[in-house]
């Protein structure tokens, strides 16, 4: 089974990495949600932004859109335990 994943070594360098998915929403490439508290500015109050972890469908679209940080790998199908 083919899966899309972040290339090795990048998660340590960029532990809160985000990008845009097909629907224009911010998604995390780290495998978990990224939550960031943004301080207020003279024109906007403090806010909390949450980038949900990208789904496999998100990752495939981002990969096929040319993101160089992702790769397609073969993942063995789990076998049924008798």
């Amino acid at each position: 089974m083919k899966q899309i994943r972040l290339k090795e070594g990048l998660l340590i360098l960029y532990p809160t990495m985000v990008t845009i998915n097909e629907t224009g929403n911010s998604v995390s490439l780290t495998g978990s949600d990224v939550v960031v508290n943004l301080p207020g500015t003279p024109i906007s109050p403090p806010t909390t932004r949450i980038s949900k972890a990208a789904t496999q469908a998100d990752l495939r679209w981002i990969f096929e859109n040319g993101n160089p940080l992702l790769e397609e790998v073969d993942v063995p199908q789990p076998t049924a335990v008798k």
Binding site: L13, V18, T19, I20, G24, G66, N67, P68
Partner: protein
């Protein structure tokens, strides 16, 4: 980029093609981890975190621009990109903003042109780089100025954004909504 000569015809439509830029998004070069592109057009950005692109809404007085001037230096093409815009008035917040952005070592600016084009100043596409891009050859930096001017004019904050590269700044299909979501 390999040599190629392709025909261009700008007389097919009578679009007004208003000049100038109307707003820009800014971040540090180090805030971007990867650039996705299709045939040289940027279709996606990956950032080190969310909320790092900052929207600059400057004066709409037909003075804001982003020009890229090509020059030959010993047969090598060099492109100097210069953007200029201003914010009316002088406030403590403007002074803080000017001091902080003036300290940035290398910035990236996504300029929205009046005719709808979207150009990314501060990067060059490079398929051999890990993230698919590099910063401009001569770093892109902001030089702020704060002017009282005279009673006949406006006091203002001005930003000049300048850097040099080997290629013209790439365009992008990323919408304002996507850039704000990033």
């Amino acid at each position: 980029m390999p040599c190629a000569i392709t025909a261009i015809n700008s007389n097919a439509a009578c679009a007004q093609d208003q000049g100038g830029i109307v707003r820009s998004f800014f971040c540090n070069l180090t805030d971007i981890t990867a650039v996705s592109n299709t045939a040289g057009v940027v279709t996606g950005l990956t950032m080190v975190s969310t909320g790092l692109l900052k929207l600059m809404q400057y004066s709409k007085d037909d003075t804001a621009y982003m020009n890229q001037t090509g020059a030959r230096e010993n047969e090598r093409l060099s492109v100097t990109a210069t953007a200029f815009f201003k914010f009316r008035g002088v406030t403590a917040a403007y002074i803080k903003n000017a001091n902080e952005i003036g300290e940035c070592c290398s910035v990236v600016a996504i300029h929205i042109f009046a005719n709808g084009a979207r150009i990314i100043q501060g990067i060059e596409l490079d398929a051999t780089a890990v993230g698919g891009f590099v910063g401009t050859r001569k770093v892109t930096q902001v030089t702020p100025s704060i002017l009282s001017d005279t009673g006949a004019n406006q006091s203002r904050l001005e930003y000049m954004v300048e850097g040099s590269s080997n290629t013209f700044a790439p365009s992008t299909t990323l919408t304002d909504a996507a850039l704000i979501a990033l």
